[in-house]
């Protein structure tokens, strides 16, 4: 790997570990002689490698000017010092470690100095991204029993594209096509970030004028569809009374129409003031454009109302002794519903909210348990959690070129069906709801061409009929050059059956991380992506983090198609690169037992494939050590308490829509206990999170 070191760059060693510093903890006051303490710190912990005698990474700190305005390049170096200290990867783990308090003091002082010097440093908000969540020390959350008053900040949360379209679909009674990217669809103007990791974080999305214009167009389209009369869905009575009449509507009819849409879209009646304004607007539009068009235009603003666009979670009532308020009953009902479904709260939730039975964590627990037991209630957000956590649903986004597909022996490559297979496996394990993470990691079961299995069963009579007519035997299996889904799993066509899941060899497969969907989602256009796979293990199972690729690094492997990936990755073992890559590559290279289409292999380029790797600096000493291949590594990881705790941290992020802070330790510990003590029940974990103080209470900063 060619790279260029900038003048200011950078600590040579970027050993990845968890950080000392809590993302949202109050920064301690700086010591009176903070500048002197900072110099002493650098002298004791940094200058042996970055001083007069040595300049690791071309960096010397012994004559660094104070971080003051006008200090020029010194400010950039100080900013790098701050970044590395906050990331917790300096000094390297093998060196004498400073006291946590000393680091915190230095970080606080340095932040303040750089700010007053006008130097832009990463803000707390930058650390709110999911990729930075593991910078919060795992030990800080789980090492000691925690108590305290957890809460989230009062916030707005832009509805997700799914939640938005869910409401629009409900309003249109299915008369509008809301399938994504269909030519007849109702388009959501909202998107979600396309980076790996959880996408729907509350802080992340805003709504600007361009989206609002589209919301207005959609609103009219949806209301127009509500007015359409079909045998299966007639217009709501409150609107039909106006649209079917040729005369001017009465004031009462106008009020009823406004009321109806408020109740449907916002799940509440309008306030007296709102009714007056919205009814006035509707009446004016009806008078100007006629009953039908007037309804469409006059009711549209209800669907642009802030409560239709944002989940409002400000809390209500008096603050408790910790300065927290509970979500209002309607806010809690909405939060619970959108946590599990893409719909606004159902009638039961709304009744509980109206009757004062939705105010406490115990109320939330009761309702979540009810919804989880309700088999008729679609809960797509649970599967979506696993899709985002594992990242396997990204497989179709990894482009494989036709020549590459053909060279691999495939006639057709259809990654979306691989994703469906893995979805089916996740849903099966969720249905069993025992040791969910462990099963997901080590099961030898797999759905293989599950979509094909459905059609194969359905079309049996048709095949037999065709065979009778031609006098030939019906085909024994559905696989041919256009459908080689079985090959991804190394399942011979003759062995395949519609009775699924199948059992795969335990030496070759272990759970989701050995499913073709996950493997291809974590591959490149032409090869495996050992770095990304290793990063996934580091991040999602071990709770570690890897710094962003330094801007001065040209992250590219040599183009040597005749060499193995492991050999081409020799460049990452250059000293500068290895400081980070040692935390990814040894975790990713064991997956070389598969090719980039997810097939198990024993040879690569006509040589026995090297599948060795290692777990390093995991935070759980029992885990550390060499591993012979991915299956062995996964089985080891699946038994680790730390891995299960890290899983709980990720579930927290998804359902709370934010990174955890040190104050959330009681919530996380309770969630982990609920999961552990219920024999690894995902339902128990979800119930615990959605009835936690972090979910129900809001910390209020009054304007």
């Amino acid at each position: 790997m060619k790279h260029r070191l900038a003048n200011l760059a950078i600590f040579a060693a970027l050993l990845v570990s968890v950080a000392w510093c809590g993302a949202a903890r109050a920064e301690p006051p700086a010591a009176p002689d903070a500048a002197g303490a900072a110099r002493a710190f650098l002298k004791q912990h940094c200058q042996r490698c970055h001083g007069a005698d040595r300049a690791e990474g071309e960096l010397r700190l012994h004559q660094l000017a104070a971080p003051r305005a006008g200090a020029g390049p010194a400010l950039d170096i100080w900013a790098q010092v701050l970044e590395r200290l906050e990331a917790g990867d300096m000094p390297p783990r093998k060196e004498l470690q400073p006291a946590r308090q000393d680091v915190e003091q230095l970080v606080a002082w340095l932040r303040a100095e750089l700010k007053s010097a006008g130097r832009d440093v990463a803000s707390a908000a930058d650390r709110a991204f999911p990729a930075k969540a593991n910078l919060l020390d795992h030990a800080m959350l789980f090492a000691a029993p925690a108590d305290g008053a957890a809460a989230s900040d009062a916030r707005l949360w832009r509805v997700s594209p799914f939640g938005y379209l869910g409401l629009m679909q409900e309003l249109s009674q299915g008369k509008l096509n809301i399938r994504k990217e269909s030519s007849t669809s109702l388009a959501s103007p909202f998107g979600l970030a396309s980076d790996h990791g959880f996408r729907d974080y509350a802080f992340r999305y805003r709504v600007s004028a361009s989206e609002t214009e589209q919301l207005a167009l959609n609103a009219k389209k949806v209301i127009a569809s509500m007015l359409e009369s079909r045998p299966t869905a007639r217009p709501p009575q409150a609107l039909a009374a106006i649209v079917s009449s040729t005369g001017a509507p009465t004031a009462e009819q106008i009020d009823r129409a406004v009321n109806h849409l408020f109740e449907q879209a916002l799940r509440r009646p309008p306030s007296a003031e709102e009714r007056e304004r919205y009814a006035g607007f509707l009446a004016k539009n009806v008078a100007q454009f006629g009953n039908r068009d007037g309804l469409i235009r006059g009711l549209a603003p209800v669907l642009l109302h802030p409560e239709a666009v944002f989940r409002v979670e400000l809390g209500d009532g008096a603050a408790d002794r910790h300065g927290r308020v509970a979500l209002s009953p309607l806010e809690l009902a909405t939060a619970l519903s959108l946590a599990l479904t893409d719909q606004r709260p159902d009638a039961t939730l709304l009744r509980a909210a109206r009757e004062g039975n939705l105010a406490t964590p115990a109320d939330a627990r009761r309702e979540v348990e009810r919804m989880l037991k309700d088999a008729a209630l679609a809960k797509p957000r649970i599967l979506r959690f696993f899709q985002e956590y594992f990242g396997y649903a990204d497989a179709p986004g990894v482009f494989k070129d036709e020549p590459v597909i053909r060279a691999a022996g495939f006639g057709r490559y259809s990654p979306q069906f691989l994703v469906e297979d893995t979805d089916a496996l996740v849903l099966l394990i969720l249905k069993e709801d025992r040791q969910v993470l462990r099963e997901l990691l080590i099961t030898d079961r797999a759905f293989v061409a599950s979509d094909t299995a459905t059609s194969w069963v359905r079309d049996k009579a048709k095949r037999e009929d065709a065979a009778r007519k031609t006098g030939q035997a019906p085909p024994a299996h559905p696989f041919n050059k256009k459908n080689q889904l079985n090959d991804h799993y190394n399942v011979a066509a003759e062995r395949w059956t519609t009775e699924q899941p199948l059992r795969l060899p335990q030496a070759e497969r272990a759970g989701i991380l050995t499913q073709p969907a996950w493997l291809t989602a974590h591959s490149t256009n032409t090869d495996n992506h050992a770095i990304l796979r290793g990063k996934w293990i580091r991040d999602r199972l071990l709770g570690g983090s890897v710094p962003d690729t330094p801007i001065t690094v040209e992250a590219k492997l040599p183009d040597e198609p005749e060499q193995t990936l492991r050999h081409r990755m020799r460049v990452t073992r250059e000293r500068y690169c290895w400081q980070c890559h040692q935390n990814m590559d040894p975790l990713g290279l064991p997956f070389e037992m598969f090719d980039h289409f997810g097939r198990h292999r024993t040879q690569e380029l006509r040589q026995p494939v090297n599948t060795s790797g290692a777990i390093i600096a995991s935070g759980d000493a029992a885990l550390d050590g060499p591993v012979k291949d991915a299956v062995a590594m996964i089985r080891k990881l699946a038994e680790s308490e730390r891995v299960h705790q890290v899983f709980v941290r990720h579930a927290f992020r998804y359902w709370l829509g934010r990174n955890e802070t040190a104050d959330d330790a009681p919530t996380l510990q309770a969630a982990y206990r609920a999961y552990r003590d219920s024999d690894g029940s995902m339902n128990a974990l979800i119930v615990s999170l959605l009835s936690s103080d972090s979910f129900v209470y809001r910390r209020v900063t009054r304007p």
Partner: protein
Amino acid sequence: MSISRRSALKQLALGSGVALSPAPWSWAATAAAEERGPRRVVFFLQNQAFYPEHAQPRELKVDPRKLDRVEDVALKDHALPAPIDPLEPIKDRITILQGINGKHVGPYHGAPFGALGGYRKSDSMPLGETIDCALGKALPAVQPALIFGWEALDRMKGSPIRYASSAWAKGAPAPMFCDPVLAFNNLFGVAKPGAARAEFDADTELFDLVKQDAERLDRRLSPEERAKFASYREGFAEITERRKRLLAMADTLAKHAPPLTDKFTKPRFDMDWWDASLDIVIAALVARVTNVATIASGCCHSGGSWLGLGLQNQGHSLGHTGPDNPDWLVLRRHNMQTLLRIVRALEAVPEGQGTMMDNTLIVYTSCHAEAQHSTGDKWPFLLIGNLGGRIRAGRYVQYPLFPAKQGRSINALYCSLLHAVGAPRDHFNLEGSLKGVDRPGPLAEVLT
């Protein structure tokens, strides 16, 4: 993190930007900008690659790796290579730039935001201002920057607004229209005759109504949440303000609005909507609704669709073919025809002693730099037009490749554009870890 455009611009006005002579953006700034004479800039980004070979005159044999000085020659004696030879008739008005450095952007497989920002690419959140938005602030208009994304038809319908090429500031991406009808309604809705005009007025009232609810909620928010809510709350004011300004120029809009033909409303192919959006770009420039437009063909990512051009390679695979592939010749020449269409349209509109094109610059490049699997160390650009005499034209300029002393970066090119429109800066986004990428100052070879 995203902040609203208005907030971003307010921050700039308060001096938090890096401008040497910051032009605090406001509606009132329009008059000041017009005193400098009209200026307009159009960016066209073709994804997947702009191969240096496609912009290399056949007789000019230059090995940039061996250069130790800038090669700067007149184009008039050299025939343009086939991929760009549709521009041969206007060769005296184009400049070819070769060897510009953008390695720090990381354009391998595309550089969302980075290609126009001169900083590390990002799929979701821009790290700073992009040059089209910077120029939009310097050349204010009702629509400070009009941005279109071209993609496969279904994708454009599925995501009518995207964020991929442009940004007002760090964390403040600028919306990109994929749906030309939506853009039409935004910009030319007022130009609809009769009852539609009444609808436009009613829509304005609609936004005013919701704005009151937004302001009510705003009063309950903490300062942090209020900042997040600002783009929504201010969006209504922005829409209302824009609509007022559009209403004030309704006659002009009606005169220049493109007809809403089937290619807008019943598109059959991807190219129908591309063509429609090009109509809007031209109409918006001619009607002076905007002075800066960007077209990102492929939306800065590595997919794409060119149904209608008859290419054998579609989507990502086109980028795997190389400069000699016949499909690239077809696509590049189609790009050039598109640019020519803008040129000819602006030439047809008198302005001052000449035409609108005399005060226009078109910048053509790729958001992937020199290849799909690029390093960004030799990023080609085409400049068309001389921007009221501020840009040298009819030149072929080859820069030595970095780290040669005479090597220059895309940041320097963008800095030059700001100088050319009368909003000079010391540098463009060469801050923090990018300070070492290039020296400050514009490209002497680009400015007159």
